[in-house]
Symmetry: D2
């Protein structure tokens, strides 16, 4: 529960005025706080500008949204129902509400964003379903623990919330990525017990770039029913795609979205972002850069005496334990990142460094140089 709370307390969050002054130039190069501190990538901003022509029907009856649906069908090799929304929290909540009744329960990892960072959005959207977190080493569901949680639940009668869905996060909150085998193993267990499967894909593109497989292989072919596909952390202004692989599961989803106030009247500007993100593999190119920068950073950190990396680097997040003086040194050098809750018994300070579509090798080398300078 604690591990994700860093999001709210940036070690180096400047005062608004200072921020204003530091927006351009140097600051961005030293900002490793999160992927969503970045600006919109040029191709997507251009698409928004290009979409600003003429009148078009509102509330999703626009041609951009029509094209988006065709594009997603192409990319995911299936005829899915697609709903563009503004935030990942909304997308996750809507997805779970289609998989879990109010008297149901959703199994997820103890580090899951849906349970720790969304202020009860899944409970709001599902009208009170429970989240049942399972412990894990790196945010990936342990098949043995999942099997134990599922075992016999069906016979326990109406006193227990009905286990109705499994939610997996790809890539996980710790930057790890499920292999297709691991993914299939847990979705088979869940589906075998009658549960639906949701994938929180806030960093889906990073995981996809890491595995190098097809979007279809990492989703419906691996047993995923609904995907919350995030573009905002990887270059968009504000755009997520809620993708329901079994259209039967999408019945009345428009009404779910409308009553939550998530239908844009000028939806062309939401769909246009996603179309640009998918165009010419922009989503994958952005993800690859972020991932490569994370690996470069990790390699450098491993050469740093006293640094330990608790998790595999399989997307664009680097968690590293450093001695307090080094952490303070980075902060004093103007670097922006989050101090995480350091696990009991661990020497030093756990920090999170996030790389982005716009992070450059120089940015990484600069941070590593600062670190050596401090050491």
């Amino acid at each position: 529960m604690e591990q994700n709370t860093g999001e709210q307390i940036s070690a180096n969050a400047p005062a608004p005025d200072a921020q204003a002054a530091r927006q351009a130039g140097e600051h961005i190069r030293k900002n490793f706080a999160s992927d969503n501190v970045a600006p919109v990538c040029p191709e997507i901003l251009a698409a928004i500008n290009e979409a600003n022509v003429g009148a078009t029907p509102s509330y999703g009856a626009d041609p951009w949204t029509t094209r988006l649906k065709a594009r997603v069908a192409e990319i995911f090799e299936t005829d899915a129902a697609v709903f563009p929304v503004t935030t990942g929290t909304a997308s996750n909540g809507l997805a779970l509400s289609a998989l879990c009744p109010p008297w149901g329960a959703v199994l997820c990892d103890e580090s899951a964003h849906i349970d720790n960072e969304e202020c009860g959005a899944p409970e709001f959207y599902t009208h009170g379903a429970k989240l049942r977190p399972l412990p894990s080493a790196d945010g990936r569901i342990d098949p043995a623990l999942l099997a134990r949680a599922l075992n016999g639940h069906a016979d326990r009668g109406f006193h227990l919330s009905k286990l109705s869905a499994l939610s997996v996060t790809q890539a996980t909150e710790w930057g790890a990525t499920y292999s297709l085998e691991h993914l299939r193993e847990v979705t088979d267990l869940a589906r075998g017990a009658g549960l639906g499967v949701h994938m929180d894909g806030a960093r889906f593109s990073n995981a996809l770039a890491h595995l190098g497989c097809s979007p279809a292989d990492m989703t419906w072919r691996a047993g995923v029913d609904i995907l919350s596909l995030g573009a905002t952390k990887n270059g968009a202004l504000a755009a997520e795609a809620l993708i329901v692989f079994d259209p039967a599961r999408a019945v009345e989803m428009e009404r779910r979205i409308k009553r939550a106030g998530h239908v844009w009247s000028k939806q062309r500007f939401l769909s246009a972002q996603l179309l640009a993100w998918f165009a010419d593999d922009l989503w994958l190119r952005n993800a690859r850069n972020a991932n490569e920068m994370a690996s470069r950073l990790a390699r450098g950190l491993l050469r740093q005496p006293g640094a330990t990396l608790p998790y595999a680097i399989e997307s664009n997040e680097v968690f590293v334990v450093l001695p307090e003086p080094l952490v303070q040194g980075l902060e004093q050098a103007g670097y922006d990142f989050y101090r995480w809750t350091t696990p009991p018994g661990v020497e030093g300070v756990l920090i999170r460094l996030v790389t982005r579509y716009d992070t450059t090798p120089d940015d990484i080398d600069g941070l590593l140089a600062s670190l050596s300078a401090v050491a």
Copy 2:
């Protein structure tokens, strides 16, 4: 209830392909379907582009949002709590949830958007409060009927939902505008009975331009507790401001917004739209143009034999009853607008024509000319 349903069935909604072809040029000039079919006005789009520099803290800790709060305090002459959100439906639902408990009821007009066009969003956000519509001539609450509804409700005990809020729409769904006196009369009645007051200001700027009073006079000085201020219908891409005049009413509003998935990670792009909308009175200039075009249109229609205008023209909506042949003539001439539910006993067809920030005198004259040509 029926009168607003036209929104979904444009008389002339072209097929997506046709739409794509007709986006630019002629089509927009002939589109009177709604204010939200328009593109973003240039100043606001420019502001989005300008905001796309550097890294900035996410989730509202950015300097744009800080500046927005100061700007609103200036414009409304009070220290209000301000929350930028994406849609009017979300803004209305959030506002009502702060004014009405789950076991409460909200009094509103029978034509209110909150009761007819939001698929139960107020019920979703309030966790089940009731909306109690009151009949009216033009969408403005009748003080006598309001007094009757309030009379003695407090003594009726726990079997009845507790009347907790009054929601007024300024300008109304029929294009009428409350005078300050009328507004004060109904808010006095509501507050006297212990109710809070919400204003649905989807077309607030149009009403403000019509009355020529100050934003403070039309809101908190007139007894309004919470305002849903809409910018999207008047030039923005997707931006509404939820303004809570009594900060005490805003307790935990961030959590209400977060769990609904309405906190943008890159909120600078939401706040930047509103800052640009307020800059140099853009919001009022846009509203004045839309209002003037509506008056020009109304004047022309009144010269048209067989045309009757059931409502006063006090914002940017023109409702007109025309003989069926004239309506079909306009449709065949390529005009886009909605056929409304024609009241029983009325001869002809009731249609709605909406003018916008970007409607020109030529657009109006063109429509009037087409009409004369058909007649």
Copy 3:
């Protein structure tokens, strides 16, 4: 909305101490306030005492509940799902939650208990569905108005709450009873438009006794999907039967009931009441007496100069308009009843007099005599 609120303000409600003193004897004979001021009828109390033997499985796995299900199947000539609950409000809320999604709407009469007397229970149980009241003369849905409300709603898209259920009250709040033809006419309209049908049967047995038809004819054969069958107003201690004629509609109803806290651990005492109520036609015998006493009362009132009866006497409620002096006279004579909201323009005072399973001819004649004495 106002008409039912009398329930909370008895014209003659004595102070608790006074009540204690007046419980036995004279007071009950003069109490016409409601059917639920009565004690439990002897046969049902005896059944509770008889059920108090030995240990039995809890939460509905007891043999009384098993027998109840068989008994209901017998009485209603179909294999329905039966759930005993404590109150009519719970039964109605649960029924509607199975017929209407959170984004749906329920059509009902403007006088419906579900909309006026349950403090938003239907909204609580359905997670925010809307109730859409239709006006009527006597609480019976007008087929023409129903047809108008249903007309074209299906095409209006996701901005509107989905019309999902019709709720009819048999007998109505005004004491009127639907004929089978009337009932069938409105259920045909509703089902033709894809709505489910709920019957609020708080006074079902009174209506059944009035029509003299079979329980099956007045429910599933007449197009009713779910019945809230009330026994408490007609002799039980606290017992209602939620009867779902299409078991498919009852999926997960146990969980709906459990999470509302309406599953009794010692459910034998709930089922035993209903078994006794059905035994030897007790439910019908009780209802017939109440109905006959209402007719006797009505006949007497009609002979009273200045008395007018606005509604047909078709169950156990008598609404009568009397001159204020006569009403005060009855109150001073120690009679307990409710003053209702007198419709605008009506001379005199509208009061409600309710007869019960234990009302005697002497009770009626006593009231009529007091009235004559006052006049």
Copy 4:
């Protein structure tokens, strides 16, 4: 989560018919399945019969309810708000809804009934609050783990559900009882962090009898804000008292109860049960017998080779681990009880034996004799 699920699968649950046959006589003497398989104790049933006189105002305006409130004030030495309801699940849900907002979280023990046995009732009543279970040895909150959970949560901002309440169970699901010191220690921590405190008192009277302290000492003087006081498991037909020690916390509780369908129209029969339960210390006499029988049973089991008792015997539940043959032997001898989930690594089978107000020494000795006979 698993430990409580036995409730639904009695090792020896007879078929309904068999049950009917075995209701009287021998069966009850051999039934240790739960306290709620018992009949109503004679004093309470008599009170229900005595209350069945005359007419009385409905919905809680009766003199029994008035007397109940005075009686509770006397017993708890404070002027509390008292609401009689039917079930503990409803009482718990209502209590939590008054302590925790929809975006809040409730800390409770991992074995808590509210999290494992109520099918999401707390989430239903709170409109989606989270339950955050803490691990423990015997169902009593560990102050160190509680302190850790509370630490710094206030600074974590709106991304996290707001920790709003602590729920303690007295006696716990494992039969252990909080000492006043332990209770005070955890409530101090909770209140110090701004949380409200709820006590699930399904077996409150058993804990009270065990500690021999006053009701006030074990509740509001120990930092408890709201108590769910259960009578059903200890002799009542169906009656629980929701007691809010700070009346300010009880605002609109009637509306919460009404909209959940938990207001009885004939509430005299609910209040009369509780009045009889409190009269002449019946509640304590019943609890003492159940506790003594549990101790007698435990002492006997400890003399039984191969039997181990994992938990202290501090109320009326006895958990014992026995070799499988002994367990089967008891079942074959006609004993009714639940097999619990045996913790990993434990030899034998964990079963639960519950004693009641009507359990006799002979019943205990009979079970012990059967056990010896099998061994």
